[in-house]
């Protein structure tokens, strides 16, 4: 702690936005927990699940998929090159799961009974599987992330001890993630009469799993770029290029299966029907599936930082659109009501996302996320110059 400037950071535009979002979200939180779901959501008996399930839970879990993909790459397949991005990716996954756990507490009618799933078992329920996966994978992610914190406070002995269990932990992570990502799709299998044919398919679990890997890899690229911009970390561009290439293959497999699933149910005619669902479908599949697949797949755009960043953003947005389409757009027609989230639902979601960003920034600042502990030196090169240097490196294809 050297001086007041460290305690009271400069006022910036994003800090003001963050504060405003947190204030609004806190007020919405008070409304939710004092007056209940009726006062704080636009949900109804006809439309029991909304934004908190569609975005906070389904997307929070999905965007964390990079975590198990990258840890498996390094610890199980021994592609050591990817080690530098393990920690930021695990951090993203961990924050994603914390977001999900928090959002569940908002969405459950009786949040303090959340533990019921631990002792009152119904193994036939997909929701039971989801509950256990959330619990167990959150625990695994905690164990995977803990060494970073322990290293920072100098407890090297316990940190080393946990690291000895890296491989079993990563294995557990892969198993639980595979179950969890797909079970979120299985949730909707019970609604063949309700979910629109453009989204309903017996393949939903497989589609959810594949799209989560695609989006999870997109998220790794997205988050690397943001860290590079915000914290002036070295951009591991060669690694990202490999990840982009993998993402292109995953997205291609996903898209083939996606259209296969629609064809198998004889719903191809819906692809050209002039109906709201069709427009949402193409927004999701063309902009968020085909476009990033092509951008990631074509070497020229993949090697271009702007092209890669754009593709990553599209992949993440396409994934979010898909989850919202399955949970909201696709169920609208059969419900007979129009659901649009209330301001409370939106502000709570924004607050949770903003807190995720803030937690990431704080973790990068105070924990050894990128390489070993280095106390920020005030004598480092001026940020602007450093950033330019990296940009030049990238432009030179480094």
């Amino acid at each position: 702690m050297n001086g007041a400037t460290r305690i009271w950071p400069r006022v910036t535009f994003w800090k003001v936005v963050f504060l405003a979002v947190v204030l609004a979200g806190s007020y919405a939180t008070a409304v939710r927990f004092l007056r209940g779901l009726g006062a704080s959501t636009a949900l109804s008996d006809q439309f029991p699940w909304g934004l908190w399930i569609g975005f906070d839970v389904l997307c929070g879990v999905g965007l964390a998929a990079g975590g198990f993909a990258i840890t498996a790459t390094v610890y199980l397949f021994h592609l050591e090159r990817f080690r530098p991005i393990v920690r930021p990716t695990v951090l993203t996954a961990y924050l994603g799961y914390l977001l999900v756990c928090t959002a569940l507490l908002y969405d459950l009618g009786r949040p303090y009974r959340i533990w019921h799933a631990i002792i009152m078992w119904n193994p036939h329920s997909v929701m039971f599987e989801v509950a256990w996966c959330v619990m167990l994978y959150s625990a695994v992610l905690t164990a995977e992330f803990l060494p970073v914190v322990l290293e920072r406070i100098g407890w090297t002995r316990p940190a080393e001890l946990i690291k000895k269990f890296s491989v079993p932990l990563v294995l557990l992570g892969v198993i639980l993630s595979t179950l969890h990502q797909s079970s979120l799709g299985s949730l909707f299998l019970i609604m063949p009469a309700k979910l629109h044919p453009l989204w309903y398919s017996p393949l939903l679990p497989v589609l959810f799993f594949l799209s989560a890997i695609g989006a999870g890899l997109g998220m790794v690229i997205f988050e690397s770029f943001l860290s590079w911009r915000a914290f002036r970390k070295r951009l591991e561009f060669d690694l990202l290029e490999d990840i982009a290439r993998t993402a292109a293959v995953v997205l291609a497999c996903y898209l083939v299966l996606r259209f296969e699933a629609i064809a198998a149910r004889g719903a191809l005619r819906h692809l050209i029907m002039p109906q709201a669902e069709t427009y949402y479908f193409w927004m999701e599949v063309a902009l968020g599936g085909l476009a990033p697949m092509l951008l990631f797949g074509i070497p020229r755009t993949r090697r271009n930082p702007q092209g890669m960043f754009l593709a990553a953003v599209l992949a993440v947005l396409g994934f979010v659109t898909n989850r919202l389409n399955v949970s909201i757009t696709g169920l609208a027609a059969s419900s007979g009501v129009n659901y649009f989230p209330k301001w409370t639902e939106i502000t709570v979601t924004l607050m949770l996302v903003a807190m995720g960003f803030a937690a990431f920034a704080l973790a990068v600042r105070f924990l050894p996320i990128y390489g070993p502990v280095t106390h920020a030196s005030p004598h480092a090169a001026p940020p602007e110059r450093q950033r330019r240097l990296h940009a030049e490196q990238i432009a030179a294809g480094d």
């Binding site: 008996d45 009618g109 799933a117 119904n122 989801v130």
Partner: protein, 250 residues
């Protein structure tokens, strides 16, 4: 542990498990159980429609079960309610049904399905199926995840979006009230069946006799005779839920 030792322990464990399983099989074939019961309802819609605007069954049910009266449609609680033909029996209408049944509501309630999706999806078994077919709910077990509502194809489940108690005009102390944040629905009046009484809605319809309730497993019961002698419809039969509420239409 040696390989031989490991195999030995595994073998003995398997034998013990098998013996226990066998014992339970023999135990099940012991003294005969009480005669089977499968509660079901038959609704004669012609009789029901005769008394236009009648809501006796709804009023009686909601009174004895402390169902709140909430005006806001998004938050209302309903155990028995009415639907137009098209909503009650989609894909079972003809081009002329609309005209024939225009403005004629059909009473609907929980179907107490033989294969209930709500029971399958509940993560905590807060809703479960009894041996006699009743689909029950434990409001202390329910965590309010609302998966059962997403799964039920009939809209038979209501969530307490707001605190129901201020909306109760009169509290029947014989039946529990609910809190906000849990799901509820028709229970086929399990508490009245236990006392040997007919469900409240059936009792309320005594004069019209549009609602008939009974044991479908007993071939001599009224419901059995009706479903065997009259043509009946069930709601959304294609979904494989096997509803146990039958409708006589014509």
């Amino acid at each position: 542990m040696t390989r031989k030792g490991f195999l030995g322990v595994t073998g003995i464990s398997a034998a013990v498990l098998a013996a226990r399983k066998l014992r339970s099989v023999f135990a099940a074939s012991g003294p005969a159980a009480s005669p089977p019961v499968r509660w079901a309802m038959v609704i004669d819609t012609q009789k029901c429609l005769k008394k236009a605007g009648c809501i006796d069954c709804i009023a009686a049910c909601h009174k004895v079960h402390n169902v709140p009266e909430i005006k806001d449609r998004a938050h209302e609680i309903k155990w028995v309610w009415k639907e137009p033909f098209k909503q009650a029996f989609p894909a079972q209408e003809t081009a002329y049904t609309e005209e024939a049944y225009k403005g004629k509501p059909f009473p609907v309630l929980c179907n107490h399905c033989d294969n209930p999706p709500c029971v399958r999806v509940c993560p905590t078994k807060a809703t479960w199926k009894r041996e006699d077919g009743l689909v029950m709910m434990d409001w202390h077990r329910c965590i309010g995840c609302r998966y059962c509502m997403a799964a039920c194809p009939y809209g038979s489940r209501s969530f307490n979006w707001v605190d129901p108690r201020p909306h109760l005009r009169r509290i029947d102390i014989e039946f529990p009230t609910r809190t906000k944040g849990v799901v509820e629905k028709c229970t086929f009046c399990a508490e009245r069946l236990a006392r040997g009484q007919a469900p409240a809605c059936v009792q309320a319809c005594k004069e019209q006799k549009a609602l008939v309730f009974g044991n479908l497993a007993d071939p001599d019961s009224d419901v059995s005779r009706l479903v065997r002698s009259r043509f009946t419809l069930r709601r959304k039969p294609g979904l494989g839920t096997n509803p146990e509420v039958y409708y006589i239409i014509g």
